[in-house]
Symmetry: C2
Subunit: 247 residues, 2 copies
């Protein structure tokens, strides 16, 4: 029995997130269909993360145990030939038989992309949040420092989440600008439901003066979701990479 | 009577090119609908160029004579509020009353984008040609030098074109690579029907060894369309900018 770790990239626009569900087509379902076509049997695919409807992935990871002896590069080509244009498998490697793409993940990195220009960019529609007013990225970077470290992020978790602990350790929060493209790059040992989108919504409220500067620590300590900003739209969010013990 | 020059940017995926036609929706038609809504009268919009079905524009120019006294920045905002997401007006300025966006054009610049990696990129689907084999951009840049200067480009013009002269002056042909993104940047005083796409198809045939290196001048001199490469797909092509006397 081999255990294979794959990376894939997908445009999440057309999908109801990663995980198989009844309401709509998921990335996992489409992937399992392709694997069934290529390997002749339906595999049990283990994803690194649930991603929301409409969220994109630059690098998503999943593993799968299989008895197939097909070589990794041939498998990548065969899968891509059977996947739609908005999903592509980018690599495949053999890993320890007990490796698990979700449990063995050390940290994840997300990027939230913002198109920060007065007029929308047709080519970024669905791929960046359009925010027309000039963002002071230096100020936002300073504010975002309050997210760093281990905190109870209950204020930055959507209410209907049933998770046990809301404590997470944020190790990186960069605010970068290249021309009119602004992005937030966030790394943590794990993320709560909608956490990056609520952090983004909160920073945008600070930019608008609707949440006071210097209050992110207070909002964290309040453990009150209603004090944070609104959940920013899914289409600006990208799972960018995942760190594993062997990296 | 004012004469207004606008720039716009559009994702050409959903359109049958710029020009109004019976077969499908054009950018011009959608734009004229928006102008009618904003100005209350259907304007006569003069585009800088016909673009093919599926071709994109980073900067497209059109002018329009109007009796409206609406300020330029207000007009831009009002038009964008009435245009679909895949089209955006980016600027507006007043020009001489006899200025004509097509006749007064000195030169145009097109970009042809190629995603040059073994695996497709879902985010570039419809926005770059996927060419999986590594391109030798130095070699291609050297080959493309033969396009420079004034030539009869009949070999690089689709057969059903009814244009009088096929002589054009190509002033720039750059081949650039940034990571796995390769692009051809081409500037000329004018372009024949499908000219950039046939030039691109020809360079790709040279890359494949199906057209011999050093033969572009021969192909030009032959004035024989069948000696050049196939027409590369529309979705990699962008009108990038247009030069006018006042630039």
């Amino acid at each position: 029995m081999r255990n294979l770790l794959f990376t894939l990239t997908y445009d999440g626009t057309a999908y109801h997130g990663w995980q198989v569900q009844k309401n709509g087509i998921s990335v996992q379902e489409v992937l399992q269909d392709a694997l069934e076509t290529v390997l002749g049997a339906r595999g049990n695919v283990i994803g690194c993360s649930r991603t929301d409807s409409g969220v994109h992935a630059n690098r998503y990871y999943f593993n799968m145990r299989t008895q197939s002896s097909m070589g990794c590069s041939r498998l990548v080509r065969a899968l891509n030939a059977n996947l739609p244009f908005d999903i592509a498998v980018t690599s495949c490697r053999e890993v320890d038989v007990d490796f698990h793409a979700r449990y063995d993940c050390i940290s994840k990195q997300y990027i939230y992309k913002i198109w920060n220009a007065p007029v929308r960019d047709p080519f970024k529609n669905g791929y960046s949040l359009h925010y027309p007013h000039l963002l002071d990225t230096e100020m936002l970077a300073k504010e975002a420092m309050a997210f760093l470290g281990e905190h109870d992020f209950a204020s930055f978790c959507s209410a209907h989440s049933k998770i046990k602990s809301t404590v997470r350790n944020v190790s990186l929060f960069n605010v970068e600008r290249v021309g009119d493209d602004v992005c937030f790059i966030i790394e943590a040992d794990g993320f709560l439901y909608n956490m990056v989108r609520i952090m983004t919504g909160t920073l945008l409220k600070i930019a608008q003066g609707k949440i006071e500067k210097g209050t992110i620590s207070d909002i964290i300590n309040s453990k009150d979701r209603s004090r944070a900003g609104v959940t920013a739209p899914a289409h600006g969010l990208y799972l960018n990479k995942v760190k594993y013990p062997f990296d």
